[in-house]
């Protein structure tokens, strides 16, 4: 029973194997970069609330209790002070001020606009961050699959060469026609394959570690995959017209929203700074209470007595902090920011279409390369097959088979490289046109 429960626990603690979509979904949830971008939205949400708080009522209070000696008399009579041990009592004081700003001549409104647009910039930036994280995950995912795809072919070739070396060494020792050069060629082939295998195995480890980092997982976190080999490409490439792709990029890329909102934020910020010299109107109120039983209460209204008093009132007023030079300087900074956004927009206007064109062209080019490589694999496969059948009937050397195997491994490597690059180019194209990664990867 205990063993069963233990086995069940082990089974249930195993993570679900992930495909590319699953890896991206985890990355969007766990990635530190995405979390940072989310936090920046919260920062600007808080800043908006700070600006909005200007129109909220404000209350300031001060209350204290202090020891007070005895004082008798007032300003018009003789004063008697006593400091004896029994002459002390409490002095209690409360001061409260209340202010409720209600009008700022557009200054607060402009600040709110600036903060709202800035928050929207961060929202669009989060989308852009998610897209670049998804792209990075895709890159690493296909790098890992590429390295993993190479392992069986190399291992198989190495096993064949190992056997061939064993036979050749035996024949060499017995003087059966295998020369030292033949042996050296085989050893060289074996070493080359060992090098390729090491590179592939290291590639798997490095890509997996980088993938975990991008997905926001710790190195010791378990990660399993549903795919362990690059899938063959479809026979026909589905290519959408470039115009459609450019239109998609023009409407979907989050950078456009960033720029639009950034420009609006800069304009509103500049306006808010220009209005920084305007006053703020408010309703106000004040209350002062003082109580000190060891002091005589002065009833004369012309005499100020903070120790025994009740005083309060309401008012309509304005606050005005005038600093025109600083306001001008800050406004200029905001204007410069708007100009910077214009520059970025011009850069995006030319850069984003180039990204789309490059990714679409890369995708087509790698597809064509994969088709060619597929043909090469077919020919090297023929080479290996026919060399093997000839070897089996005794009419060809083992060398023909071995050379065929090496060529086959090389052609497979080229094929897998093309498939990997095609898949990465597809991910780059999705990024370039601004596909919604949340929609595409986190929903079933």
């Amino acid at each position: 029973m205990t063993t069963f429960i233990l086995a069940l626990l082990i089974l249930t603690s195993q993570p679900e194997p992930l495909d590319l979509k699953g890896c991206i979904a985890v990355a969007l949830r766990e990635s530190g970069t995405v979390q940072q971008a989310r936090a920046r939205i919260e920062i600007y949400k808080a800043r908006l609330k700070q600006v909005e708080s200007v129109y909220y009522p404000k209350i300031q209070t001060l209350f204290y209790v202090a020891p007070m000696f005895t004082v008798r008399g007032d300003a018009t009579t003789n004063i008697e002070r006593k400091f004896g041990p029994g002459d002390w009592g409490p002095y209690t004081r409360l001061e409260a001020q209340f202010a409720w700003p209600f009008y700022s001549f557009g200054r607060v409104e402009a600040g709110k606009d600036a903060a709202t647009h800035r928050m929207n910039v961060e929202r669009a930036r989060l989308q852009a961050t998610e897209q670049s994280v998804a792209l990075e995950v895709s890159r690493l995912y296909f790098l890992r699959l590429f390295a993993q795809s190479m392992v069986p072919a190399i291992t198989h070739a190495r096993d064949i060469i190992d056997k061939a070396i064993e036979t050749a060494e035996h024949m060499h020792a017995k003087g059966q026609g295998v020369t030292t050069v033949d042996l050296a060629k085989l050893q060289y082939g074996k070493n080359e394959l060992a090098r390729h295998l090491r590179t592939a195995e290291r590639g798997i480890l490095v890509a997996e570690a980088a993938l975990k980092h991008t997905m926001g997982l710790l190195p010791e976190d378990p990660l399993q995959f549903t795919e362990n080999k690059l899938n063959p490409l479809p026979e026909i490439l589905e290519a959408r017209p470039l115009v459609t792709l450019l239109e998609e990029a023009a409407s979907q890329r989050p950078e456009w929203a960033q720029l639009e909102q950034g420009k609006k934020a800069a304009i509103a910020w500049s306006l808010a700074e220009k209005r920084a010299n305007f006053p703020v109107l408010f309703f106000g109120g004040q209350l002062q209470l003082g109580w000190a039983p060891t002091r005589d209460d002065t009833t004369n209204p012309y005499q100020f007595d903070p120790f025994n008093q009740i005083f309060g009132g309401v008012a309509l007023g304005f606050m005005w902090g005038l600093d025109p030079a600083l306001a001008k300087a800050k406004s200029l900074e905001a204007d410069a920011n708007a100009v910077e956004v214009d520059g970025l927009k011009r850069f995006a206007d030319t850069g984003i279409p180039v990204q789309v064109i490059k990714a679409a062209s890369d995708r087509e080019q790698h597809f064509a390369a994969a088709t060619d490589s597929h043909e090469s694999v077919r020919y090297t496969r023929q080479w290996v097959t026919f060399a093997s059948t000839a070897y089996d009937s005794g009419t060809a050397d083992a060398r023909d088979v071995l050379e065929g195997i090496v060529a086959h491994v090389q052609s497979k490597r080229t094929l897998y490289e093309s498939i990997r690059d095609f898949n990465i180019a597809e991910a780059e194209l999705a990024y370039a046109v601004g596909h919604d990664v949340q929609e595409n990867n986190t929903k079933p």
């Binding site: 795809s149 069986p152 496969r381 097959t385 026919f386 005794g394 009419t395």
Partner: protein, 207 residues
């Protein structure tokens, strides 16, 4: 002979009985199943164990019914026949057919077991019918596109095998032609006989 072997041989007899009524596609499916029954040589010694040898003897006989071995052998040497005397020609056929059986059958059997082949296409090819089979061995990441070219005789038999569209028969003709050209009929015979002897020595043949 144990009960399992008896049942197995009975099933082969039944297969032979239905073979004459099967079309090339059904024959291909049946061939794949039969080849997959071939026992591998012992991995430690490289030779067949006695039970495996007995088992394979029956399976090989069954596989023979799918291949037109005599026709294949005759066709492979046909362009160079003039360079052989009767005795050499007879020796060639005996050696070549034995080689095909003891080398090609087990190799095909191992691949059929590993590669889980599926029939992808059936189409006429001149007077014959070509059945294309795709197999994929995940262990060594090797994909094969093998076409069995069936010829109508008393029953459908394989006249040629194509790999990725290239004819094995044609390749043998060219290989043999090159060797006969350089080393004569005896040279070719020696190569085939040496290979056969080596295979018999390593695997404990004949079956």
């Amino acid at each position: 002979m144990n009960l399992l072997s008896t049942v197995f041989i009975m099933s082969l007899v039944c297969n032979a009985a239905t073979a004459s009524t099967q079309d090339p596609k059904a024959r291909t499916e049946s061939l794949i199943k039969t080849l997959a029954q071939i026992e591998k040589a012992d991995s430690a010694t490289g030779a067949y164990t006695q039970p495996a040898r007995e088992h394979n003897r029956a399976v090989f006989k069954d596989v023979d019914t799918y291949f037109d071995l005599k026709g294949f052998s005759a066709s492979a040497i046909a362009p160079h026949k003039a360079k052989f005397n009767t005795k050499q020609l007879q020796s060639f056929h005996e050696t070549f057919m034995q080689l095909l059986r003891i080398v090609a059958y087990p190799k095909s059997g191992a691949f059929m077991k590993d590669a889980k082949p599926t029939i992808k296409n059936v189409e006429p090819q001149n007077k014959n019918v070509a059945v294309m089979v795709r197999g994929y061995s995940a262990a060594d990441d090797f994909e094969s596109h093998t076409t069995f070219v069936w010829s109508k005789q008393k029953m459908w038999r394989i006249a040629d095998v194509q790999f990725d569209g290239a004819s094995l028969l044609q390749d043998y003709r060219n290989q043999f032609g090159r060797i006969v050209e350089k080393e004569g009929a005896d040279g070719l015979l020696k190569k085939l006989q040496d290979r056969l002897a080596k295979e018999k020595a390593s695997k404990g043949m004949p079956l």
